[in-house]
Symmetry: C2
Subunit: 466 residues, 2 copies
């Protein structure tokens, strides 16, 4: 398929980013047509700006021509947020990948949006610092993507989410105008907080070209605990018990029976009591002196909930093995069920047991296998609805099951997404969760920032009124 | 002075809140005419709604009649945020003071805006939990005021600011429409984050009637350290050193020579090396087992910066005495210089030494005495410009000095306010700090939420274009 860009626009874009910064060939564009949602939309072109000025150039051209611009990091997103669903130009941040400053005394780093999360992590480690948000795609995902989706990962139990770790942004508005919001300080209340409005806006309000990130000190030591329960309900009660009092662990993950079966079958060599039907992974951190005491303290608190086993993984190696197995779950599931629906609902921790019980009922009644795991300490559960490609009726069944999952989550005072975002995968559902007045205000804020609707159109909102 | 409300409006308001919920008498209104800014504006009436429905009634009447509505907590604000600068109806939250729920497993509390901070603290302590933002006015200020100004206090060094500790809000829009934003979960990325937009908006966008607060566990133990330096520069370097690596203390306050002199003269009985010209107060927290080790570890890190003395206050009583003296500073200054200008600028921690040196130069060159103290760990300094009421030229000199203080702060990559807000006291300065595009977008967001400009008009923005 040929690019649908008019020659004049194509030329203007090439002028903006240089000839080698514009991908027009179908094969080149194909590399930017997918993400982790399993959907495919071929963009008309891909721009690879290397400077903020080049980003502004792309925006000016597209604003003028009313062409969609789709900001894109590493394409690790789960909801199609970086896909060209209405055609247009994918604006890749891959060349905007400089770490501009690390300031230890101010506990901040200044980065471009295309910096890979794991590379920043390595760089900061030399200063004894880290940026707490850490999605499981850390090795490949970009900071820009983390900001766009407010994706936080397991650390959120202790450290809070992405938006808590951003001090300021430099962004470009739809017409290419540069705008600075926030700044270099950890406190600041001058005017409305546009920084926070932009984080999690999925590239629909502006394009980030620079971010000032707040950092935390790397803890001296960590210990991982493996706690195995007879059933999910008991594991869920244990999570509520642990979160109800005392210092939270730095991570508290769980795996349901199906996820546990995958783990057992993965050959990763994870030991686990054979009768176990639910696994909790907990991590504590602190100084070398205190970390074992903390781990044992947490273990004591968990023993109250009568687990089959509760083991403090003493070796760094065993701990790494456990976490690798946890991180391998999502790719494993994608291999098993390429068209799986991967949701990341959240409920208050006290409602986890009700969620788990409700998911079992839905799986049974609809015949759709459900595999759940995730950030139990936040009540943030990755619910995977598996589809059998050989069964033509399955697609309809899955949609029905998903519908019931969302209803259940909202009944339990939860939210449809904890960190994956809305994109195109959940846009038809958000009106169920959001207050109608709040949704209306959001669409009007979108119009305020982007009156020509060129920034990532078709994302988040079901229908945009112009 | 009689109320300027038309009889029909007065009657409609009385219908909305009940006769005893509407204060019309001049003496009654006088009690709502001031705050901690030293300014006075007599409202036309004061409404005391006891339910969200009554708040909606007040808003409907005022929206219809285009009368300003000024939401007000306890009147402890420093920038005139709760004053009726354009006349209108003060909407006091004092009767909206119920703690609606405390959910330990979910680490959340649901409160009305008029709940007094200190009362919530007491109630939560029974569950081993607390709400980390804690302005020094905790005993009297309200949660609604904390949310409106995003005022965080000394805990922010470790815990972050108010906006990090709010999960959701129920608000009423200018016309009385109810709107729910956020929710009950610690993660959530469905749509734009209006919760964060509303926090810190100083009552100009909506009126909060219910807030879902995120809680943290109360640490088992705390230790306070008193560290005395020969001069401010050395103290500032020590702050940067401590913040540059390792776990941050839970608070890190400083007092400059003038503040220290006040403390010595206060009769509070604070011991302090006689040659000391700068005082740091640090607090560490943790389990009973670890807290002394942590305190001594911090002391070791501070010794590197050659203090005159560095004492870990072992007794709870001595610690309380030190903190009381710190908290007494602001009221003491108000007594000494009732028309003092009390700013709360912020600079990156690495620039504290430059700020301190610059303030000394400004004080010397302008002849305006400056007393500084505050949250050094965040670079958030309360800069007090003292005015001599007996000197008629002083007012002009103070304005000139303030001007230079703000220029200095912005040069150092700082912000004009860390937690006091803008209100009327800083509205003429914010254009110096904010990007022009960001300021323009903010005024348009204000118009979007409040097209008739009835919600706290005249605050934050220098001029509003209609």
């Amino acid at each position: 398929m040929a690019s649908e860009l008019e020659p004049a626009v194509r030329e203007a874009l090439a002028n903006a980013v240089g000839a080698d910064g514009l991908l027009i060939g179908a094969a080149q564009r194909e590399a930017y047509a997918r993400d982790n949602s399993g959907r495919r939309f071929l963009p008309w072109a891909v721009a690879l700006p290397a400077t903020a000025e080049q980003v502004a150039g792309v925006l000016r051209v597209c604003h003028q021509a009313a062409i969609p611009v789709i900001p894109r990091g590493a394409g690790t997103g789960c909801v199609g947020g970086g896909l060209a669903v209405q055609g247009g130009v994918v604006l890749s941040t891959q060349r905007l990948n400089r770490i501009l400053a690390v300031e230890p005394a101010d506990r901040l780093a200044v980065v471009e949006p295309g910096v890979v999360h794991g590379e920043l992590k390595e760089r900061l480690a030399a200063h004894g610092l880290f940026w707490p948000p850490e999605p499981s795609s850390s090795r490949s995902c970009t900071i820009g993507g983390n900001l766009a989706m407010c994706s936080a990962g397991p650390n959120a139990v202790r450290y809070g989410v992405t938006r808590h770790w951003v001090l300021g942004l430099t962004v470009l508005l739809a017409d290419g105008t540069r705008m600075r919001v926030g700044g270099y300080t950890t406190k600041g209340v001058v005017g409305y907080d546009l920084t926070q409005l932009l984080i999690g806006s999925e590239g629909t309000l502006a394009v980030v070209v620079e971010a000032i990130l707040k950092l935390a000190p790397v803890p001296e030591a960590r210990r991982t605990l493996r706690i195995v329960f007879r059933d999910m309900e008991q594991a869920a009660l244990a999570v509520a018990g642990v979160m109800g009092r005392g210092e939270p662990p730095s991570a508290l993950e769980f795996l349901d029976p199906a996820a546990l079966a995958l783990l057992r079958g993965s050959g990763a060599g994870i030991e686990c009591h054979p009768e176990g039907q639910a696994l909790l992974l907990a991590e504590v951190e602190g100084t070398l002196e205190e970390v074992d005491r903390k781990a044992n303290g947490l273990r004591e608190r968990l023993l109250v909930f009568d687990p089959l086993e509760a083991v403090v993984a003493v070796s760094e190696q065993e701990s790494k093995k456990i976490w690798s197995a946890r991180y391998a779950l999502s790719p494993t599931l994608t291999r098993l069920a390429p068209r799986r629906i991967n949701e990341d609902v959240v409920v208050p921790v006290s409602r986890l047991a009700a969620l788990v019980a409700g998911l079992a009922v839905i799986a049974k009644e609809t015949g759709v296998p459900i595999v759940s795991f995730g950030h139990a300490g936040n009540g943030n559960i990755h619910v995977n609805l598996l589809t059998d490609p050989a069964d033509p009726t399955q697609e309809r069944k899955v949609v029905g099951a998903l519908d019931r999952v969302f209803d259940l989550v909202l009944q339990l005072n939860g939210t449809l997404s904890g960190e994956h975002g809305v994109g195109i995968m959940k846009r038809d559902y958000i009106a169920r969760e959001l207050d109608p007045g709040a949704l209306a205000l959001q669409t009007r804020i979108k119009q305020l920032f982007d009156p020509r609707n060129i920034l990532n159109p078709g994302k988040i909102f079901p229908v945009l009124h112009h």
